[in-house]
Symmetry: C2
Subunit: 232 residues, 2 copies
């Protein structure tokens, strides 16, 4: 089953990335790729550790986050299948500045960065893939700096909900967010305390922008939510 998943990854899902490689290179990757399962809330790597692997999320949901003042975490990015992460620190020759954890039971593949680095040195298209990914992430982080520091609480939460929708989409009903997270995670995504996330979310319910049932969030008025995220 693991071999099947791997074959699928190399041949289909990641076609855009790995199809670049020749057969010999593909064999190298296939041999080195290790599949690993993580439980809900399990840490994949932690801030301060030395980066060793390129991680590939095959199934599940993963958050990249950074611990801040008084143990308050900030969620920096959300990963979905099939996305890659964990490589930045290696390329920067730094320890990790953020941690990765599974939101829900997840399956990941690990590839030694030393091997990835080797392949990059020979294969420019692979290098360009990372240049492109890093560039998009950097633009996202720079934008986040301004959004999280300057926007007010309502706009920040609205934006977080939009980010969730854009990342994980809706369920079959076309309204329910396809991710269930604790209010604390919602708070950590939008730079506020848990109480304020709860209160602000309730406000949106009162305004009939959302329906909330536990951790299930149904977005009734996405346009209005986008408006709030832009103009407060």
């Amino acid at each position: 089953m693991i071999k099947a998943a791997l074959a699928k990854v190399i041949s289909e899902d990641l076609a855009d990335v790995w199809s670049i490689l020749d057969n010999e290179e593909k064999r190298l990757i296939t041999d080195a790729f290790v599949i690993q399962n993580f439980k809900k809330n399990q840490i994949i790597y932690a801030e301060g550790e030395e980066p060793e692997y390129l991680w590939c999320l095959l199934k599940g949901k993963v958050k990249l986050f950074k611990d801040g003042v008084g143990g308050r975490a900030q969620i920096l990015r959300l990963m979905r299948p099939v996305q890659y992460f964990g490589y930045r620190a290696y390329f920067a020759e730094e320890a990790y500045v953020s941690s990765a954890g599974a939101f829900e039971p997840s399956t990941l593949g690990a590839l030694p960065m030393s091997l990835v680095y080797q392949l990059i040195q020979k294969n420019n298209k692979l290098a360009l893939f990372f240049i492109s990914e890093l560039s998009k992430n950097l633009g996202g982080s720079d934008t986040k700096i301004v959004n999280l520091t300057q926007k007010h609480i309502r706009a920040r939460l609205a934006e977080a909900l939009i980010v969730l929708k854009d990342n994980y989409g809706y369920e079959a009903d076309g309204q329910t967010l396809n991710i269930f997270m604790a209010r604390e995670d919602l708070a950590n995504l939008s730079n506020m305390t848990t109480s304020n996330a709860i209160r602000t979310l309730s406000g949106f319910v009162t305004e009939k922008i959302l329906i909330v049932d536990g951790r299930r969030i149904k977005i009734l008025n996405e346009a209005q939510l986008r408006k709030i995220s832009k103009f407060g």
Copy 2:
């Protein structure tokens, strides 16, 4: 004089980056490299524009910043000679998400990104240079997200002063910051209003951590400043 500066750039200052290239490649760059002077506060490129050039700061000081809510700017990065910028948006195939402006009269070189992209496709070491730069910047931005959102005003300003020191260093006296910026820029660097930058800076003077003479800032106790930037 321009030709002399260019020759110097290609052959000395940027040795690490461009020494990678063969003679033919070097000639391509030399021919395409355009040197341009900017006045104090002049905009080099603006948010929303399409990226066209790789910019190289040869002389002077440059800020990358992003306009936020109510025209309040956030300074994202500071450039010093010889550093490169303006390439991220091109690689991400996006418009610029931030603007670049000269802090003081500055000399820059511009190289068409289309040419840089061509060279990267053939030259892996050049690709790895950009991978490394982007990775370091991304780590910096992710760290900044947490620092600017979670730290209190004193810590944020202390950190901004440390950043100025680490970027531009001290003058011959070993204490005076080698950059003179308006209080507004100091505020835009540390996510606060100009009034708060002024007030907090005065506080540091009272505590004998700094001496301020107009825009000239002398750091008397860097260790204390670092302590404040870490623990508030």
